[in-house]
Symmetry: C2
Subunit: 137 residues, 2 copies
Amino acid sequence: MSGPNTAVGSQVNGGTPLGPCGDDDCGIRDVLDRLGDRWTVLVVVELAKGSRRYGELERAIPGISQRMLSLTTKRLCRDGLTERIVHPTLPPQVEYRLTPMGRSLSVMISALADWSRENKAAIAEARARWDGSVGTA
Amino acid sequence: MSGPNTAVGSQVNGGTPLGPCGDDDCGIRDVLDRLGDRWTVLVVVELAKGSRRYGELERAIPGISQRMLSLTTKRLCRDGLTERIVHPTLPPQVEYRLTPMGRSLSVMISALADWSRENKAAIAEARARWDGSVGTA
DNA sequence: CTGAATCCGACCAGATACTG
DNA sequence: CAGTATCTGGTCGGATTCAG
C-alpha cells in the first residue's frame, strides 16, 4: 500500500497528480466539507451495508442525536448520495439507501477506513513519541 | 434489533466489506477527525508536491493563518505524517516534508480529489434539484 | 415512527500582537 | 523567517420539546 514512488518532489500517483489545477484545491474541500462532520461518514458506512430505516440508523450509530441524524440524511439526500423512500404505512416507515453515486463514495470511505486501520498503530506510536519528547521536556 | 446486518450482504467492495468489526466504526473517525478540519488536507496536498518551507506553505495555501498553519503542521508532525527539518542557517529555515506514511495518506486524498472532480457536477445538479423542489415550494 | 424547532454549550478557526 | 499567545466570533453538535 505504501507509495512506490521514489522521488519525494514528484507526485505520488500517476492517475491524477494532485494538482492539475495549479494552486487550486480542485474541489477537494467540497468533499471534505461533507465528510468532515462527525456523522456523515458513519451514516454512509451503515447504509453501505444495505437500506436502513430512520430508527435503524439511530440505533446502529451509537451517540448520534435525532437532530444530527436528520440533518445528515437530509444533506445526503440533497447531494444525491442517498435516496429517501417513504412507505405510506401506519405507522409511517422511511427507508434510506445509497444512490449509485453514494455507493461509489462509500468505496472511497472504505479505502480510507483501510488506511486508518493499517496506520492507526503507527500514528499512535508517533504521537506517543512526540508527546514524550515534547511534553516531558 | 441487535444484528440486522446478517441478512444484508450488499457490500460495495470486496477488499474490505466496510464492516469487519461489526457495529464499530473501526477507527474511521480517527482519520476523519484529522482530515475533517479546514486545512490539513490542503497542507498534505501541497507537501505531496514536494518539501516546503513555512513561508512557502503559507503562500501556497491562500487564506490560511499563521496560527492554523502552525497548528496543522504540528499535528501532522505529531502523528508522524510529516517531518520537520530545521536548517541552522541565518535566518532560520524550516523544511516540512511528508513521511512515507504521510505520502500513503496523500494517495488516499488524491483518490478523494478524483472522486470529487468526477462527481462535483452531479452533486451540484442534485442539490439544485432538491433546492428547487423543496425550497421554492 | 419520523422527523422539525429551539435553546445552549463547546470547539474550531481568524485576527492581531508579540517573540526568537 | 518561523513561529507563539490571546481574544473573539461563528459554527457544530447535544438535549429537549413539539408535530405529523
